[in-house]
Amino acid sequence: MIWNQTKECMSRDEMQSLQSKRLVKLVDRVYHNVEFYRRKMQELGVEPGDINGIEDIHKLPFTTKNDLRDTYPFGLFAVPQSQIVRIHASSGTTGKSTVVGYTRKDIDTWSECVARAFAQAGLNRDDIIQVAYGYGLFTGGLGAHYGAEHLGATVVPMSTGNTKKLTTMMKDFGATAIACTPSYLLHIAETLEAGGDVDKIQLKAAICGAEPWTEQMRKQIEEKLHINAFDIYGLSEIMGPGVACDCIYHKGLHVYEDHFLPEIIDPDTLQPLEEGETGELVFTTLTKEGIPLLRYRTRDLTSISYDKCECGRTLARISRFKGRSDDMLIIRGVNVFPSQVEAALLEIGETSPHYMMIVDRVNNLDTLEVQVEVEEKFFTDKISELENLTKKISHVIQQAIGLAVKVKLVEPKSIERSMGKAVRVIDKRKLV
């Protein structure tokens, strides 16, 4: 089912005209209401009058995650705080979170986009949807929740953490859909398998996102649970989940581009790339009121296609992500930069700056192991003291990134020294 036939099936001309109209208004709004953008545009010698449509998008400045941190907490907000009805914040970044604010209308737009995604997954008001993303500052839980309510479905706000209760309710309530991270869903699938419960559930669809996953993993989930699994994409800076989602044909994720204008650029030259070329995904939030962003660099690498999809939608489609243009990792839905681990280790002072992060997926849950070299200056021949050191290091890293880690002490010089850019991460999950 197509939730919003008009917007999702527009001709390219109509879409571009709508986007252009919205972009002109947006630029005017941010120029006059956000000091940061006014200054940036003045630096580039651009005035709102220079922007007549999306063909002028390249004249506008980019926005990065650092800009959000530098203007922490509310520096990029375009409306008075009295109009903000909700705040979300991104997880685990060094020191400062990136904070976003939503007006009443932003929440409505977001709910509309998530409802489109759920409809794309074949869901409607007759469905019972378990939302098993974390509820809180993270956009996953509440974003999916409001979208599912907007769809008119029966929402079960499970959040995360109690798999037993989740599977019990899945059986007892006859839940027909679930929204959660793909790795958590695989864990749920195995719990159901172990209890011999797979035949006792009525699940038909899963809407998964918040972390990268492969096509193989999607198929594995579908086979294990006899359901259709869909890939939903989003980031808090732009909105949260529901910026894009794939349909039953699984040929890319439909971008809700009447609200989020996508561009693909070369991450090095910052020049626009052609349709089909792989580069960094950039979004301009055409309708957002609370914290509208111009040309936000997502750091996600993908390509774009404007062909009409077999499902009937004409929305631009982005391909499955091919990686990132920075070194950010997404582990159990949490954004982690190796630099955060490095800063934490330096803070302890007793350890060497030589470390290696091993990310893996064990029993379908992401694991993070940090290997730290045992340097001369803190070597002791007492196991208890080395164990205390291990505990201290895990604690400090956990404080910094918001994720439990396993710390493993290794011999000095055993972590490979690189001649060029240091290799700090081994992500074994890519092999799935």
Binding site: V374, E375, E376, F379, T380, D381, K382, I383, L386, E387, K408, L409, V410, E411, P412, K413, S414
Partner: protein, 139 residues
């Protein structure tokens, strides 16, 4: 009174212990006694060797984390209850024993290496109890 024990950090992976031993062999250093304490990820090899300083330097040159720790080497007769009597003295003094292992002297005794939280005090207690210490030269 104290003997210098050579300790080295060993990752729990194949071949590492052997490499430590090879390093010592190349420097012609004899291992008199050893004990391996292990956790799931790593182990600590504690040794009494003929040349502790030389052993430490050689291991460091080969990239190992190694250190010297003072311990006491105590001569015990090979009879039932000898160790218990000795330990009861240390317990009475309220000193915590961190680790201990057997020491081979090549004669018919049951000597041990002992590391206590307060080694000075432990040695004092043992001395008062008339215990015989072994020096590295004797070994």
């Amino acid at each position: 009174m104290f003997v210098h024990q050579l300790s080295v950090f060993i990752e729990n992976k194949e071949g590492r212990l052997e490499q430590v031993l090879e390093t010592l062999k190349e420097k012609n250093i004899n291992i008199i006694s050893l004990s391996l304490a292990d956790s799931s990820d790593y182990g600590i090899l504690r040794m009494i060797v003929s040349d502790p300083e030389g052993g430490k330097d050689a291991l460091k040159e080969n990239g190992f984390s190694a250190m010297l720790t003072p311990v006491v080497a105590v001569r015990l007769r090979h009879q039932v209850g000898q160790l218990q009597v000795l330990l009861s003295e240390i317990c009475k003094a309220g000193i915590n024993i961190e680790y201990t292992y057997a020491l081979s002297t090549g004669t018919d005794d049951a000597s041990i290496i002992l590391k206590a939280a307060d080694l000075e005090k432990a040695a004092g207690v043992l001395e008062k109890a008339g215990v015989e210490f072994i020096s590295l030269e004797e070994l």
